[in-house]
Symmetry: C3
Subunit: 427 residues, 3 copies
């Protein structure tokens, strides 16, 4: 039995499974793309093209025409042909637009652009993409003041993203948005907690299935009493600058109360751990963030012990954090491994991470993959990349090494791809 053939067969079978994508940045009012610029505008292409030498000013010129933007990016794509992200692009072009080549160049891009624009203009384009990609439901990343109206919340599942509340509450803009969204003028700890509660009410009333946040490597949540937060909160509300220590106190207070509400509203709390924002300040939009690998899940010890009733699907950014994630999910009932995030979302890292999780974490506690996509077309190549790696691990570690039947291995694959998403998020 050839390992390659077996892997291909398992991947083909997994491809037939309808998917629920448990994390994306889809705008439900404009889920699919309208031109190739929506695809090539994804930060993976702009940041890689910029990294390879394309000036930011060329990419982010104000008023730049979408077609010209694609033209400029295509001119730099040769430098990125090796990347896995480039392979996503070619796969999308081939599957969705009948593209015949395996390279996108200055010689062939324009006809592709026009073909794509026509296809994307079809009124059922969004439906076509979902169907071709076998995507049934897609989780969103909603601002806390999103009205959550005007779209099908059964297809596009609301998710309460809370970075602004935890890390930017001192900004007047955040305070104003919170007041407007909740009708509560926050003036102290008590009204802040009340306002947060309003958000949970609003979101769960609209089918929200998760609370979510991304966290810097230094974050180490602690409980903070209402009494202790009053001074920093007062400073924040009156526009006074907060010391690093005060800012941390305020962040901790909000974060801990979010976890509290996750108990009350029975929501999983997605933790995406390890990102440093704006490390490369002159980078392109969304291409500025990096990380510091010196981060440990021990920083979450108090949180995980304090909230046994809350499920924490955890993503880690640094590859070296995966061993801790495997081990914490192995021990803590409320820790679930969640996908392969951002800089760890390439086959070289997915394979080792997927392998270690499948060997050591209960199979019911693993969310295999999410797309993290901004435009619907990316679901297909991203899940395909993951399914290939998953199929390889199932082939090597379960069918070949442990003598499992292919069907039994596929059951495990389906559970991590879909079954666990359904159960953990209570769909």
């Amino acid at each position: 039995m050839s390992s390659n053939d077996l892997t291909r067969r398992l991947a083909d079978e997994l491809h037939r499974l309808p998917l629920i994508d448990p994390h994306s940045h889809i705008n439900p009012h404009a889920a699919a793309s309208t031109t190739l610029a929506d695809l090539l505008g994804y930060h993976y292409y702009t940041e890689l093209a910029h990294s390879a030498g394309l000036p930011k000013s060329q990419i982010e010129e104000p008023g730049l025409d979408p077609k010209e933007k694609v033209h400029r990016l295509v001119g730099k794509l040769a430098d990125l042909e090796n990347t896995i992200q480039y392979s996503w692009l070619i796969e999308m072009c081939q599957v969705f637009f009948g593209f015949q080549d395996d390279r996108l160049t200055l010689a062939n891009w324009e006809s592709l652009y026009d073909t794509a624009a026509k296809k994307m203009a079809q009124p059922d384009w969004e439906e076509q993409v979902l169907k071709t990609s076998r995507l049934e439901q897609v989780f969103l990343t909603n601002d806390f003041d999103d009205p959550l109206t005007g779209f099908d919340t059964n297809r596009y599942i609301p998710c309460l993203r809370t970075d602004d509340l935890v890390f930017h509450l001192a900004k007047p803009e955040t305070q104003q948005r919170l007041a407007k969204a909740t009708g509560i003028a926050v003036s102290n700890a008590q009204t802040l907690v009340a306002a947060l509660g309003k958000l949970f009410q609003h979101f769960t009333a609209h089918g929200c299935r998760a609370c979510a946040i991304s966290l810097p490597p230094s974050f180490a949540p602690e409980p903070v009493s209402a009494n202790d937060v009053e001074a920093p909160l007062h400073a924040a509300l009156t526009g006074k600058p907060l010391s690093a220590c005060e800012a941390t106190t305020l962040s901790n207070f909000v974060f801990w109360n979010l976890a509290q509400y996750c108990v009350e509203f029975k929501l999983p709390f997605d933790l995406m751990i390890g990102v440093n924002r704006r490390v490369y300040a002159d980078g392109v939009y969304q291409g500025q963030d990096l990380f510091d690998q010196r981060c440990s899940l021990i920083q979450y010890q108090k949180l995980l012990n304090a909230f046994p009733q809350v499920t924490f699907p955890i993503s880690v950014l640094a590859n070296s954090s995966n061993h801790e994630l495997v081990s914490y999910a192995w021990i803590f009932p409320n820790v679930v491994t969640n996908g392969h995030w951002w800089y760890s979302n390439i086959p070289a890292y997915i394979e080792n991470d997927c392998r270690s999780r499948l060997q050591a974490v209960p199979q019911t506690k693993q969310i295999g993959y999410y797309s993290d996509m901004y435009k619907l077309e990316f679901g297909l190549p991203k899940f395909t990349m993951y399914r290939r790696v998953l199929a390889k691990v199932l082939a090597d570690d379960f069918v070949i090494a442990r003598g499992w039947s292919e069907e039994r291995a596929l059951e495990l694959g389906r559970l991590t791809l879909r079954g666990n998403v359904q159960r953990i998020f209570g769909m």
Copy 2:
């Protein structure tokens, strides 16, 4: 030549080698199991079942009948079928009890339970297990006040475990145990050192082959003068609370003196580096510990330089520490790589760790594997798991990549599996 066939052939050959297990938690007075509850009671199963949702109260109910305990755990096993630990269980049941299925379920567990109980009740069960597993000698983990009598110390090799002395000397219970074991009432640094010496005399007189300790990620040993330890020691002896700094001083003093005695008594000092205790305080018994990957062997620089005469077989808990371990064993004559510990003891991590060690550390400085087992039956599946990985690395990296003969590759395998254990521990 198929890599899979070659691997299987090498694994089969390695399987014929009689083993010395250089680290276990076997109770020599009850080495083998008496019911399936002894197997399923291993913390890997209780903690994974608990992690998958089985309440601790169900597992640790006072007075729980062994059969009922197995019943409850089997009811949760479906969630763990993917884990490598589950595969150990099935392999034990198949090899030792003729179990025919590949899943242990509520439908088939009871007859297995009864079959196992009968087998385990045979007077020579312990001998049967040792023989089937090709285990010749097994190292123990003895409390410092273990009398070391009533068992064959040539089969079960005593090993002086020193965690209590280094980290819990401030507890009255530890002081009382030390006084009782040595006949010395510790009152100052001098009598403390004398008491430690008594322990080494006692242990080496009973065939002890190693001193051992597990250490938290923050530990960084330093020499402490007798003068500097008097105050913290006095506090400890009189029941006064120690500051963190005083506790560290006391730990360092004891630890450094243990290393000193290892020189005098010519004992290797097993360091098991990186565990944080009771991270998940509500976890099941032995299922509460985790780690912080932010740990470096540079913390042991002073120790390794100060004791060139002592061999330090080092185990690391975090997978990311393996590269340091490889490099420190490559440079320091007194550092030896030791097995694959706990959260790193799954094939995904063993394979990379084994590969890097075999490529860069002198072959005479590698202890391939230890079982860490509590019951004798686990030696078989654990060593089998390791031998498969070792055989794969020997096949890929030595026979295929370097053109070694199979016999030459097997010699290397036998050295890390057994030869080095024999030489390093002076058997």
Copy 3:
């Protein structure tokens, strides 16, 4: 298609490519070896033999005859036969001296020694080695006061190594060397900056293509004003001891000005990040350094943002740092991945690192490999080791997984092996 056959075919093709070695420690006045002692005297063999038990006094005995030195080292080689470094040795002996065995032992070493000595005495030995190894150009590591004369700077490319300036300027010897090399008596910040400028003039006038430095894990460069450095500099110049903080200020000042000169003189600045010097103080020559994995590229955030015009080819010592390197090269236009350094230079680590870089970093921003060699003969086996790993990754990830043609995969391989070196260092 067998993956092993494909890998071999690709490796053979890559072997035909003439090489530019972008980092070595070759002495251009004595580039090739004169006896086997030059090969076995490489720190990999002396430190591994010492690690395996050969006393330092045996290896570094004053006045030791080269032949006797080889004799002693050969006597310990059996312990190292598993290491990849041993395989380099055997490959050199087979290719360069027609050695027929696959082990170097006390039974066969002497005739090899004599054969090698004869071959090495041939007047064109250096040319033979370069030709057999397909080495066209080799970068050097020059002391800042190297006259750079008496050798062909088109074959042996000068490179300004700056460790002494950044970390040892407080030593009178460094100050005297600097004064002699530049004709400038440093007395304050301004004259120090001027002296550094003189070095850049001298080096670039002699064809220097890079500035380079190795850095400890704790280093985190910051700009320092001329004003702020005056006090520490004055202390250094007058032989007063510097506090840790003052030493850091001085190091930062020099380092930042080196980067400034890299702008002016259009030189890439090679950063080799992560080495702790003299960790094992009693180790053999060059066998004393190790590392602390707790290091992050976030420490270089300010530098990378401040010098967008400077290309930084970055090497990392700890394997766990590779994910950060991949990610920083993916985002920062001025970060280039550079080779596989020292303790990471073994196939087990090269394979994962090479794989992740090829999947996520623009192909134009990757310098595949450098030899780091001290003697010319090592270029062959080291590059061969790398080419095999590279060929495997190209076979598995590109030809098999992505359906690339072999020729397309080879183009990618040639770019990382040679094309990028040429372009990045402006050859």
